[in-house]
């Protein structure tokens, strides 16, 4: 009996301890829940812009709730609203390779004024067919896409300078420049990279290629530009200084150190002024949205200015950096440059002022294809051993701390970059890539939350078959210890992200397009002006949409073999009253027309018949009634072209 009571006693004790533990866990969960709770009708404090990776888009989330607010189509066609399908938006996706309906977006970057995100524009790179896009944050529409010539994959991009003077691009895959047919085995010395500086118009935001620096054929991976004292410089990491062209996982991982390319772009500008640039003929496209005409314009460009390092001394230096570095980040003061040496156990902190001294005192360790290589020790501020495994990226707070994402050890490490002291570490699920603190790569981080952008999801959510959403995690960084608050799924594969205090974006929001400012050539601004015009085999339908009908809603006299363009103007001038337009058998998409906007859907009917069209966006109590018919007659029929609405024959 005594033995029994002892056992029972243990059981009770264990149960009590378990309950205490469980209560503590519940209390922690309750506290975390409070921190991310945004009450119904309330707004989040921050916008987070997550790159969509291979979906070619940008996911807009609110923080701290993690709620998905919008997917902005950028490089990928989007049947949801007709982006890339409507006649107005198709030119946005033109490239030297023709119409490219997809890309791989990696790094969103907010426009900055004085080194602080200003909420005007968001830039993002296309890694596959090299491009940079600009999204206007007043409308959340992609309004500008520039193709980057002489590049084999635009990865270290579009990092921005302190006053949005430039966004940069660089080639991850070096290629023959200019492109030509040659054996791959002749890579070494013959393949080249480019570092491109794309000028941003300070008023309109319009992009234009300023210049390209021709560099050795390494793989240029990531970048960040200087700020404060280091304003005027940009830093690009590179790997594969071995110049391998096959089985890179081994052959590009041989050297202990690769390089950060430190580019003095103000020096480059001076060289350009001295006429040291050379024009190269190459084809690329610049596509932009004409706000007035409400349509994209596609311009073919034929020349860029190339700068060769040997012709512009002092423009570029290499800093030796531990093994195959990935990210490179500059602290808010602009003094410290911290790469993520992904295959190294040691992380190096470089000093900008030391770098300037090293350049002044010519402390060189050698050169690569004529580019001076600085002495590692001369530029080094501090080496931090055993930080973690697989450090990739850094973001900063305002208290002298840096947060490093560690892919292999699957954690975020908080440490001080001044003295290299490690302060805290928190596990993340699973295998983090980038991390993001709103403003965390700027001069003024809003250092309340950190988002871990994890690469592997596994069991974090209800399973959805083999293909899963990506996993983001929100971490509170206000205290001494980091605190995990929330898991939330993201779409595509977010690489980098940007965050900004919401009011900087909300104050510029556009709610409608004023009809009187709509100068679309096919706009009709009143129902009395609608018409259908035939020119040979082309038929233009000048149509209006307003709650709750189309005008015209009956069209006859279309023939097989015609190409019909429905130009639909949404006459509404009220916020959040879009109308959709879809027509039977359309081989493109539907279009979603915002108030005051005109969009065009092309339609090629295949056989005689009467085909319905209708509004796809539930716009009012009578939305289901918002419909019409097109009669299509045989190719040689004599059916007269006519149209009407509201039961009144117009012609």
């Amino acid at each position: 009996m005594r033995g029994w009571s002892w056992k029972w006693g243990m059981l009770v004790a264990v149960a009590a301890l378990t309950m205490v533990g469980a209560t503590k866990v519940r209390k922690l969960a309750r506290d975390a829940a409070k921190k991310v709770y945004v009450a119904p009708g309330e707004h989040d404090e921050f916008y987070a812009f997550m790159s969509g990776g291979f979906n070619g888009q940008i996911g807009v989330h609110g923080l701290p709730s993690g709620r998905l607010l919008k997917i902005v189509p950028v490089f990928s066609v989007n049947p949801e609203n007709g982006y890339g399908y409507s006649e107005e938006t198709k030119p946005m996706l033109m490239t030297s390779q023709g119409f490219v309906p997809w890309d791989d977006t990696h790094h969103p970057e907010l426009s900055q004024t004085n080194g602080v995100p200003d909420g005007r524009w968001l830039f993002i790179n296309a890694n596959n067919t090299p491009r940079i896009a600009r999204i206007d944050l007043a409308t959340f529409h992609t309004v500008d896409i520039i193709e980057i010539p002489n590049s084999g994959g635009n990865h270290p991009s579009p990092f921005i300078t302190q006053n949005s003077e430039y966004v940069v691009a660089g080639t991850r895959f070096s290629v023959p420049i200019p492109q030509k047919d040659m054996p791959i085995s002749k890579y070494k010395g013959n393949f080249k990279g480019t570092l491109t500086f794309v000028k941003v118009d300070p008023q309109t935001g319009m992009m234009d290629i300023g210049f390209q620096i021709l560099v050795p054929g390494f793989d240029y991976d990531l970048a960040h530009c200087g700020k404060g004292p280091s304003h005027g410089w940009c830093f690009f990491t590179s790997y594969n200084s071995e110049e391998a062209y096959s089985l890179l996982e081994r052959h590009a991982s041989q050297k202990d150190k690769d390089y950060i390319a430190a580019v003095n772009w103000k020096r480059a500008e001076a060289c350009l002024k001295e006429g040291k640039g050379e024009k190269m003929r190459v084809t690329y496209y610049h596509n932009y949205w004409d706000e007035e005409k409400q349509m994209a314009i596609s311009e073919k460009k034929t020349s860029v200015t190339i700068l060769r390092p040997e012709k512009c001394e002092g423009m570029i230096y290499y800093i030796p950096t531990p093994k195959s570095p990935h990210g490179v980040d500059v602290d808010p003061s602009g003094e410290y440059i911290i790469p993520g040496g992904k295959l190294s156990a040691t992380i190096s902190v470089f000093s900008f002022s030391k770098m300037i001294n090293a350049i002044k005192n010519k402390q060189f360790a050698g050169e690569e294809y004529g580019i001076p290589v600085l002495k590692y020790e001369a530029v080094l501020h501090k080496e931090v051993p055993n930080l973690c495994l697989g450090p990739l990226h850094n973001e900063f707070d305002t208290r002298g701390n840096v947060y490093t994402s560690c892919f292999i050890s699957s954690e975020v490490v908080k440490w001080r970059y001044e003295d290299g002291k490690i302060l805290d570490r928190i596990p993340v699920y699973y295998s983090i890539g980038h991390l993001m603190i709103p403003g965390g790569d700027s001069r003024k981080p809003w250092d309340k939350y950190l988002v871990a952008l994890n690469k592997i999801t596994k069991d974090r959510y209800l399973p959805t078959g083999p293909e899963l959403a990506q996993s983001a995690q929100l971490i509170d960084i206000t205290g001494d210890k980091m605190e995990m608050l929330l898991d939330f799924p993201t779409m595509g594969e977010p690489h980098y992200a940007q965050g900004i205090k919401a009011d900087l974006v909300t104050q510029r929001q556009v709610k409608i397009y004023p009809l009187e400012k709509n100068h679309h050539p096919y706009a009709v601004k009143s129902q009395d002006a609608v018409k259908v015009v035939r020119k040979g085999r082309r038929v233009d339908v000048y149509m209006t949409a307003i709650r709750t009908h189309f005008a015209p809603d009956n069209i006859e006299g279309i023939r097989v073999g015609d190409t019909v363009y429905f130009h639909v103007t949404n006459l509404e001038q009220d916020w959040d009253i879009p109308h959709g337009f879809a027509v039977y058998g359309a081989q493109n998409a539907n279009i979603l027309i915002m108030p005051g906007q005109t969009l065009t859907l092309k339609w090629v009917p295949k056989a005689p018949g009467v085909y319905p069209f209708y509004c796809t966006d539930f716009c009012s109590a009578l939305h289901q009634e918002m419909q019409g018919y097109v009669r299509v007659s045989p190719r040689n029929a004599k059916t007269k072209l006519y149209w009407y609405w509201a039961g009144q024959e117009q012609k």
Partner: protein, 187 residues
Amino acid sequence: MKWVRILMVVAAIGVASAYVFPLWTYKLDAPQYPEGLVMYIKANRVAGDVDKIDIVNHYIGMKPIESTQFLEFKVFPIAFAVFILWALLAAWSGAFKLVASWVLTYTLFALVSLVDFYKWLYHYGHDLDPSAAIRIEPFTPPLIGPKELLNFYVEAWPHAGGLGLIVAAAAGWLALILLWRARRQEA
């Protein structure tokens, strides 16, 4: 007598405010319009979210509110000018007849306008298109105060211009009473 002159100038200013500020305002709230819709009746036109209100009204077959169809918007600016000049003339001369005739004419004008306004409201709420999608019992939108209409909560109140017109009436009557008293004391 000094007070009579001051009051008549006040009356003139009151009427003049109707050129600057709206006379009447309608506020509409509905679940779908958290920011609310507003319509202003000015001396010469209706303003505010008229287009949005028209779209909402078309479901029940109400006619669009078009400034051009109101003769009132042509008459009001002229009438106000006449009342301003007349009040200033009365202030300048201080003559009992001028003040009295202004007060009576102005009051009559105000009453007729209110009746006319009510008739328009009745007309809009009753002359509904019988082929409209949603058929409702005819109604009269409020002349003043709150009212619930389907999903809308509507409030009608005089705006600064309307208050100016009311102040003008009050000032006119006060001036008339003061003058009248003075005449009785003299007599």
